[in-house]
Every structure is written in structure tokens, then in C-alpha cells.
């Protein structure tokens, strides 16, 4: 599964352009599912049917898109200007290496003007308008191969640091998909009284769009979203910050169905799975926010993996936490009572 994580994180596939990733995702889901389908928007759905054809259904969801850039102009000399897709921190861009998906995939680096020539001087963050993608090709050749609107992905290979800590791009949220696979691994040979949909969703980073479409189509009775939360760094403070290696993070708050968060907490204690708790006063900033109100309302739980340097090319996590989320999710599913869930607010 560590290899699967590295394999996924090496792939391009920013929001709206997940096509380069869907085959790998389908292949990873196939061993656990009776069928795997890709919808026209690029969402990948694996189905594990219950024996009873009238059984209720549960959706397990993680998003597979990542942040990226898009070509917005080509200069006379062949340098590309660009716009961000999703929440890109422009501070990571000077000196970043990229792949431009033109008529062919082209390698480039993001260059900035020398420090003393930048607008705003050396104390200001480099503005995106002071940066260009340098393909090392003349204007004429660039215009043949690249068009405005082409996808630009970060050319960053994931790598292992020490202690089972890994670093790479788009661990947000491909690590979430690995947790789902670890959960399915746990559930192998176990029969559950509901159908399971395993969803790898698109376009989370630009507005929770894939999860919204899939929720409507699958109409599950309950959903579990796995995403990342902020890991501990010296400059991050302590509120809603979680230590790498400390286990799964269970969310509480208006976005989360109270039966599901309480069940998760109980199960973690009973099964001795490392977990901590996060409280959000409203929007969790994840697909859970969209799923909760999709299709007339779907009870949802958010489980998270602590991740340092979110939305950079060196997102960093501890594999133990990916495993803990998978273990916890499997344990929750084995203790989940959809009838009790349905009656939560009835009495």
C-alpha cells in the first residue's frame, strides 16, 4: 500500500483533468470490488454489493484531484504565464518543476525575475505575474505545442523521509484513497449488511463538485469521507493541528452526523485504534460539506489524516496515520447500525 501511495502521488491529475489517474485508481479498486465504473465526469466508483438486493448502501469517499496551474498566455519569447487551479500557495512556485500537458507533455521550470527586478522588492512574496514557465523552447515551437488552457502539473516524485514518513504532491487526498483501500483490505471475507460504494471523486479542490454529483447518483444512506487535516509544524500553532503519527482524526460539529462521530469515538476506544478529535464550527472544507446536503441529505462522517505543508509539492505524512484511518473505518463499518442512524432525530 505504501507503493500504491507513491504510485498515485507520482501521477498528474489536477482538478478537472483527472483522466491520467483514473486507470490506476480503477486497477487499485478492482481486487476489492464486484464492479468498477468510471462516470463521464471522471469519478471512479467501485461496488461491493450486499447479498440482499434491497439492502441499504454506504459510500466511502476520497478525492483524487490535486491543485495545479493552467496556461493563460504565451509570450513572444515562448515563456508561459499561468493561473492557479485550486488553492495554490504562490510561495511554492519560484523554482518549481512542472509538466505542461500540451500536444505532448513538456518539462519546464517556473522562473521568477531576479530578486532585484521583481515588483514590490525583495520583502514581498513573488507575485504570479512576475513568474513564468520556462520550457526552454523558442516562441514559435511553444505556440505549436502549447495552447492557453493546457493543464500544468507539478513534476515532483514522492520520496520517503525517515520513520515511515513520506513526502510528495497530492497526498491530499490520494492518501485518503489509500486509507479506503486499507479499510477494504481489513473487511476482506467479512459480510456486511449493506452495499458499499467506494468513490474516488474528482474536482474537490475547485468546489467539492465530484462528491456532489456522485452522491446524487448513488443515493447512499450514509457516507464516510476521508481527507487530510493539518499536521504539526513549528509555525502552525496548536488549534486543529495534529501530530504526525498520532493516528486518525475524528471530526465533530454541525457538518458531521452525531451518531457517526460518537460511534467512531467509541469504536476507536474499544478497538484501541489511535485517534484524536477535531471540532469544526461549520464547514470542514472537505467533500463532507457537500455530501451532507446532497440528494436530500446524507448523514456523513469525516475522518482525516494529519498532513504537513498541505497544497505544496512536499506534503508530508506518517504512514501509520493512513493505516489508522483505514483500520478505524473498517471497525466503524462493522459496528454501524443504519436503522439506529435513521432514527437518530425521531424521538
Amino acid at each position: 500500500m505504501k507503493n500504491a501511495l507513491l504510485q498515485l502521488a507520482a501521477k498528474d491529475g489536477m482538478s478537472g483533468f483527472e483522466f491520467s489517474l483514473t486507470e490506476v485508481v480503477s486497477n487499485l479498486l478492482a481486487p476489492y470490488c464486484a464492479s468498477v465504473e468510471r462516470d463521464p465526469m471522471g469519478n471512479v466508483v467501485g461496488v461491493i454489493p450486499a447479498k440482499n438486493p434491497d439492502a441499504k448502501s454506504v459510500m466511502l469517499e476520497a478525492h483524487i484531484d490535486g491543485i495545479g496551474l493552467m496556461v493563460s498566455g504565451i509570450s513572444e519569447e515562448g515563456f508561459l504565464s499561468f493561473v492557479p487551479v485550486g488553492g495554490v500557495d504562490s510561495a511554492i512556485l519560484p523554482g518549481a518543476e512542472v509538466r505542461v500537458w500540451g500536444k505532448e507533455v513538456l518539462y519546464g521550470v517556473i522562473g521568477a525575475k531576479p530578486p532585484h527586478l521583481q515588483t514590490g522588492g525583495q520583502d514581498k512574496a513573488t507575485a504570479i505575474k512576475d513568474m513564468y514557465i520556462d520550457l526552454g523552447l523558442c516562441g514559435e515551437v511553444v505556440r505549436q505545442k502549447v495552447s492557453v488552457g493546457d493543464m500544468v502539473c507539478f513534476a515532483e516524485e514522492p520520496a520517503a523521509l525517515c520513520n515511515d514518513v513520506f513526502s510528495g504532491k497530492s497526498f491530499d487526498d490520494r492518501a485518503g484513497l489509500i486509507s479506503l483501500l486499507l479499510c477494504l483490505e481489513n473487511l476482506k471475507g467479512k459480510e456486511l449488511p449493506f452495499t458499499i460504494y467506494v468513490v474516488a471523486a474528482v474536482q474537490e479542490e475547485v468546489g467539492l463538485r465530484g462528491a456532489t454529483m456522485v452522491s446524487e447518483r448513488l443515493s447512499p444512506d450514509c457516507a464516510f469521507v476521508v481527507d487530510v487535516c493539518h499536521g504539526d509544524t513549528p509555525d502552525a500553532g496548536s488549534e486543529s493541528i495534529f501530530k504526525l503519527g498520532s493516528g486518525a482524526v475524528i471530526s465533530f460539529g454541525p457538518n458531521i452526523h452525531p451518531y457517526l462521530s460518537s460511534l467512531a469515538k467509541e469504536v476507536a476506544e474499544k478497538e484501541n485504534i489511535a485517534a484524536s478529535f477535531d471540532a469544526d464550527g461549520g464547514d470542514t472544507g472537505t467533500d463532507a460539506w457537500a455530501v451532507q446536503v446532497a440528494n436530500g441529505g446524507i448523514p456523513v462522517l469525516l475522518l482525516s489524516i494529519p498532513l504537513r505543508y498541505m497544497h505544496t509539492t512536499v506534503e508530508t505524512l506518517h504512514f501509520d496515520d493512513v493505516q489508522a484511518v483505514g483500520d478505524l473505518l473498517a471497525a466503524i463499518l462493522q459496528n454501524l447500525d443504519l436503522e439506529v442512524l435513521a432514527c437518530t432525530f425521531q424521538n
Binding site: 510561495a91 519546464g108 530578486p115 527586478l117 509544524t233 506518517h318
Partner: protein, 341 residues
């Protein structure tokens, strides 16, 4: 190719060991004598063919800009200082290799979601950044890293575009590579190939070399700034990538000998080697200390333009590299006997 191998080596100023070993092993068969001084400068002496008793110093520096571990935090993160001139804005979200063992690490900063609007507008300060090696805590980090360990950029040698390459440390491993190639050929004068240390922290090594060698003339082979990006004022464009070897006339540290500069330019033109003058008057290189050493040494500089110099993703054109090498070779062969007084 020497260049692709040389840029893989970590050689932050003060820690040039890996680069020195690499060069020493490869240059030894072509030289009579090798000297290594107290700072670690490597000087390889090759006898000339015309026995005129004159010595040429060819100079390239082995060191590169980088970082050094200054403190290990309670949580096991590495605080660092810069070694050489680095714009901290190129550091965020980059990979590094720490210490002699080359431990992998990343330079982090809190996620964009946690930055205030004010913080997003400001350039980061070095003291706000840190290296993450994945250590559990201080004790775990201390079992792998110590204060004073050098940190080098981790960045592959990538050929791309129209004959360009991207790598770290092109400034000045490209000079080292050219010297290594030229050492294999004969030369009219005696030549000392000087591979210097600590250029990036103030031309420290070249000072010792110049004084020890006391050459009759010196030529520095360098990587120099290249700011030919769109919307850059014409007068701020120092060199242009792919337009050939850059000859220096003046910079922040040296007023170069105009006779040699002109001679180099004309020689290139005569042999159809692409050449350009460096257009700006800032910056500096080992020539700055060499030309005032040992009572004054006639010194010239031939450079290869490098975009994004002093970052992990410096970019040069191999055409410019070849031009600088060919020009230096021709000059050694054809012009060395001229009188520059």
C-alpha cells in the same frame, strides 16, 4: 559527461570534499603534480609545450550555495542558516539532502490555509523556515543530524527544451567540468587548474590559490546571471540564454583587462563561436580577488549564462557551455603568447 556527474555531488561552501575527490581522481592522470592547501583548494599543475616559463591559472569554484543546520527544535525540525546568497523565496517546498549521509528532507512552511492575508504577501524570512526529515522528536533528530551539518539542494540533472539542462550547482560545476575536459589537452604555457573553495561566501579560496600559484595570467570560468525573462527592461538583461559564452568587461568586483576581453570576443567571432558581452556591471566572481593578488594578475572571465542561478533549478544552454569551452580552448592555444602589458 562530467557536468551531469558533478552537479549531483553536494558541495556547499566549506564542505567541498565530494567535489574535490571526484575532480582529483579524474585530473590526476593528465597533470604532473597536485596540491591541496589548508582550505581545501585543489591545484593541478600541467607542464606547457613551449617551455616559456609562464603560467596560466584556469580557475573554477567547486562550492555551491546551500544551507547549514543551526539548531534542532524540540519537535525534531532543523532550523538553518544560508551559506552564500540565496533568496529565501526559492526555498519553500523544496527537497534537500542533509549531512554527509545525504538524509532526505523537505523545507516546509505552514499551509496556505493557515497563513494570514498579511503573511501571504510577505517574502518568508530564513529564520521562519525549517527542514523536516520526518524525525519523531529532538532526540530522534539528534541521532541522525548535528548542528553544523551542511544541507544541499536535491535537484536532478534534467535535459529539456532546446538543448537546455536544469540542475542545482551549475554555478560553478560547469566551470569545473570545462577545466576537467581542457586538462586532457596540451597547452603552450604551463597551466595550473585551480578548483577553488568558498567562492560563494566571499571569494575565500581563490585568494590562497592566486598567491600560491602567482600566475602570469588568470582566466575564470563561471556561471553568471541571466535575466532574459519577458517584460524585463533591456538594460537589466545581463546575458541571454543560448546566445553564447559571456565575456565580462566589468562587474562589482573587477574591471577586466579590455585587451583580453576584446581578444576573446574577436577570437570567438572569427571561429563562429557564439559570444556575448555581459551587459550589466553587478555581481562578481573569483576574478575579483585574483586580479588584486600577488602584486596584481591580469585576469579575464568567460561565463555561461544561467537562469535562476543560486536556486535548485538553475538552467543553462549546453550550446553556451560548448561555446565557453571552445573559446577557452582556442584562446589557450592561439593567443597565450600575446603581450598584454
Amino acid at each position: 559527461m562530467y557536468l551531469s556527474e558533478l552537479v549531483k555531488l553536494a558541495g556547499v561552501s566549506g564542505n567541498e570534499n565530494a567535489v574535490r575527490s571526484f575532480i582529483k581522481e579524474r585530473i590526476a592522470p593528465f597533470c604532473e603534480r597536485i596540491e591541496i592547501d589548508s582550505m581545501g583548494n585543489l591545484m593541478a599543475f600541467k607542464k606547457g609545450t613551449n617551455n616559456c616559463g609562464k603560467t596560466l591559472m584556469l580557475c573554477a569554484h567547486m562550492d555551491e550555495v546551500g544551507l547549514i543546520v543551526s539548531r534542532i527544535t524540540e519537535e525534531g525540525f532543523l532550523k538553518f542558516k544560508t551559506v552564500g546568497g540565496i533568496d529565501p523565496r526559492v526555498l519553500i517546498s523544496k527537497r534537500v539532502s542533509v549531512g554527509a549521509a545525504g538524509l532526505p528532507g523537505v523545507i516546509g512552511r505552514k499551509a496556505i490555509h493557515l497563513l494570514t492575508p498579511e503573511e501571504r504577501k510577505k517574502a518568508p524570512k530564513v529564520k521562519e523556515l525549517y527542514v523536516d526529515i520526518g524525525a519523531k522528536d529532538k532526540a530522534d533528530a539528534e541521532s541522525k543530524v548535528a548542528v553544523g551539518d551542511y544541507i544541499a539542494f536535491e535537484s536532478a540533472f534534467v535535459p529539456f527544451g532546446d538543448g537546455l539542462v536544469k540542475a542545482k550547482a551549475l554555478d560553478d560545476r560547469l566551470g569545473c567540468a570545462i577545466l576537467l575536459e581542457l586538462a586532457q589537452e596540451s597547452c603552450p604555457w604551463d597551466v595550473c587548474f585551480a578548483f577553488t573553495v568558498q567562492e560563494e561566501v566571499g571569494l575565500r579560496g581563490a585568494r590562497l590559490c592566486a598567491r600560491r600559484i602567482k600566475p602570469d595570467m588568470a582566466l575564470v570560468i563561471e556561471g553568471t546571471t541571466c535575466s532574459d525573462l519577458p517584460e524585463t527592461e533591456e538594460r537589466a538583461v545581463s546575458t541571454r540564454l543560448g546566445k553564447g559564452a559571456a565575456i565580462s568587461l566589468i562587474d562589482g568586483a573587477t574591471s577586466y583587462n579590455r585587451k583580453i576581453a576584446q581578444q576573446l570576443y574577436q577570437l570567438a567571432a572569427k571561429h563562429d563561436i557564439p559570444v556575448q558581452f555581459k551587459q550589466t556591471a553587478t555581481g562578481g566572481n573569483d576574478a575579483g580577488i585574483i586580479h588584486v593578488s600577488a602584486g596584481g594578475i591580469v585576469t579575464a572571465a568567460v561565463s555561461v549564462p544561467a537562469r535562476y542561478i543560486h536556486s535548485p533549478v538553475s538552467v543553462i544552454s549546453l550550446k553556451d557551455y560548448q561555446a565557453a569551452k571552445e573559446l577557452t580552448r582556442l584562446w589557450i592555444q592561439e593567443v597565450l603568447h600575446a603581450d598584454f602589458a
